[in-house]
Symmetry: C3
Amino acid sequence: MADPRFYSLAGPFDLGRLAEIAGADLTAGTDAERVFHDVAPLATALPEHVSFLDNRRYRPEFENSRAGACVVDPELTGFAPEDMMLLISEDPYRTYALIARAFHPPRPPSPGVAPSATIDPTASMGAGCEVNAGAVVDPGAEVGARTVIGANAWVGPGVVVGEDCRIGANANLSHCLIGDRVTIHPGVCIGQPGFGFPPSAKGHLDVPQLGRVIVGDDVDIGAGTTIDRGAGPDTTIGAGCRIDNLVQIGHNVELGRGCVLVAQSGIAGSTKVGDFVMLGGQVGLAGHLRIGDGARVAGKSGVSKDIPPGATFSGYPAFPVREHWRQVATLAKLARRDRKGD
Amino acid sequence: MADPRFYSLAGPFDLGRLAEIAGADLTAGTDAERVFHDVAPLATALPEHVSFLDNRRYRPEFENSRAGACVVDPELTGFAPEDMMLLISEDPYRTYALIARAFHPPRPPSPGVAPSATIDPTASMGAGCEVNAGAVVDPGAEVGARTVIGANAWVGPGVVVGEDCRIGANANLSHCLIGDRVTIHPGVCIGQPGFGFPPSAKGHLDVPQLGRVIVGDDVDIGAGTTIDRGAGPDTTIGAGCRIDNLVQIGHNVELGRGCVLVAQSGIAGSTKVGDFVMLGGQVGLAGHLRIGDGARVAGKSGVSKDIPPGATFSGYPAFPVREHWRQVATLAKLARRDRKGD
Amino acid sequence: MADPRFYSLAGPFDLGRLAEIAGADLTAGTDAERVFHDVAPLATALPEHVSFLDNRRYRPEFENSRAGACVVDPELTGFAPEDMMLLISEDPYRTYALIARAFHPPRPPSPGVAPSATIDPTASMGAGCEVNAGAVVDPGAEVGARTVIGANAWVGPGVVVGEDCRIGANANLSHCLIGDRVTIHPGVCIGQPGFGFPPSAKGHLDVPQLGRVIVGDDVDIGAGTTIDRGAGPDTTIGAGCRIDNLVQIGHNVELGRGCVLVAQSGIAGSTKVGDFVMLGGQVGLAGHLRIGDGARVAGKSGVSKDIPPGATFSGYPAFPVREHWRQVATLAKLARRDRKGD
């Protein structure tokens, strides 16, 4: 189903093998030997495809799907078309992910250096790296084994990149140490100086920004995102973080492990964010805050105070989420009364 | 008037010809043979220039302008300086656009491939393409006739670009099919994987993103904008859309025809947007919504519910625009009372 | 203390020399001949380092710091550890900046043109320029003496860049005139056409954008920021402005001198901003506004009306800051009452 111009395809696999790969249960009586050729969305899947349902909103598409098999939550099995085979899972999205990865394993690097790439003789490149056209690796940089450097990307002087990383086209890395298995998408800018100066009517005086950006293992950084280096301390991104597109991270920010930052969110300088924190799209965190482990901030909120661990905040300025929605309801009610009173 | 370092100039044209090009009316007695040499803004125009007024806010500049001729709404003709010739139009901005295009037609491509560009032998290039220095066209890509590829831009494997397109410098295209006459400005990132994973404290598991980005004809995509490819379905951008700078479009989003997305707006995954929808600057749409044809959302609004066709919404969270402004007025009044009560 | 892979180090300096460089006072009896080797943050500084304290929030780190010397506000001297030497300053951040610059002076350019760079024969390059790998300088461009052009950056046709500028990797310059000592960080896009067209269901008609971007001396423009060229007038950025990452500036905008725009803020077309205006992160200014000299707008505010000189505004929509916070307090109180009444 996936466009062969862009995606190579493994398999086919029989259903029993897919259930095993994904740790899913088959309903009793299912023909575990039936063969499947790819995954596909509910709306376009054919009998040779496996699909999934993880959002009740899409139940109508499920009920009308021609997919031969589908990963589904136990509570939704009753809505399945009669001919559909079911892979039952308490976490259908995760189960689907494992099946999709079996059909579409990540492309391995194609080792070699394009003729138009520029690698400084003092840079060190690990075995099996793929360096694409126009990429530039500057003096003293160190790139780990099997890392892919995209077209026209720039790896600045002294930068360290770990093993099995993917650096996107036109990405920019300076003053940073990048862990293993990190994916950096196109157009990312990491390591430029933070925004630091004593403002003055005589002319703003730039303060040397002398720290680095330290990115942990297994981090994913979205297209066009910018991460400034520390002013003196480092800016640190914990292992396993997922950072979406066009996110801004200021100098000295510390992100814990496994944080999720949705697109266009921003974190001002020196704010410390705990582990597994989730920021919705377009959220803004002011500088010098502490955001506790597991905290969540709803999309577009503006946070100017610390958030305790595990709390969910929302609004501008941000309040605990229930309080925010009560404020919204109260104001809507008062405004309606106001109209009637006019 | 336009800086000749950057703009070439056609013409001159006499006023009659310009009125004809633009479908505008001349006031009675106007000398249709008077010759004009360029367009210029009201404040700096000279007698040899044509200017325009489409915003009452700039009436003082109109009244004092030295422009030889001006495109103007019929209702504003009374404020014109005595010597100014008038091109009367119900849509002065459009009329001006046609005249400005006559003086400054788009530069045609300069066919050829720069020596430092890299075009894979398996890529197919249409006749008359212009490929600038450092640009990279990967295996299996197809580029239509007369398309211009900017310096250091990257056209990824298998990407299809139509005819008469302009791909900006340092732009990044992967996993996408681009229509004809599409303009993509510098630094744009199209086709990177969407932000999709089942979050888990054991480590976020990335779900293969197996769709594409389909961009219709006559679309314009602003600098630094990011458009993720679909997860399984495609991300689709309808014909004639105008997307400003630093906009984020998540995976599986569908934009109808002729939508206008102002800078820094963002649309989360799987939201379906109708035809001719307008989003103001910094607007955020949550995921999985439906926005009806012709809907409008005021700048900086945060939308978390569906919007019906033709409606105008505003606020965070967004309400119908009148309701939002009533809420603003009510709260301002209550806060003032509160102060007096203290 | 700064990582030698990224930062070269001048000095050492004795304390008397540092006090002189920074215009700071030593406390009576201080050994002005003691030698220091670098600056460092309070938390990690050793006895051979100079640190600074400019935010009371970090007093605990100050009290426990091992720094040999520290720049500090006169009011905070009483909290210093016994052995710490003090450099007293009414503006500790500025004083620290001067000391840090002594230890870490800006790297001078390394004159020369990388073999993979492309400089058009009709472009003019000043003496001592450094042009990095893959950079492209187009026909008719003029680049001033000692300017550094980063890897894979693009300087478009006719662009003028002043002396002692730094153009970041993968930055894009077109239709612009850049002053002296301007720093442009990676991924910046300057000079693309503004977002201008009369919307129409028959197809949006693009209006030729015939102006330029004029950037004054000593401006700093953050990574990924986009600045559109004027439609007819120019877009102008006053001398000494500091623009952070991912900021959007629309066509015809005028910024006065010394403005500070924090990350992800945006200014819509034709808005005129005075001198020394400060916009917080994610602020949005609507189009055609006038923002007075010295005005300040708090982070994430949405401004749709003019702001008088010297005023501080906040909120969405933005109000004078006190009024906004009173509204926030009033609404929180009413919502709490509402709950009790339920």
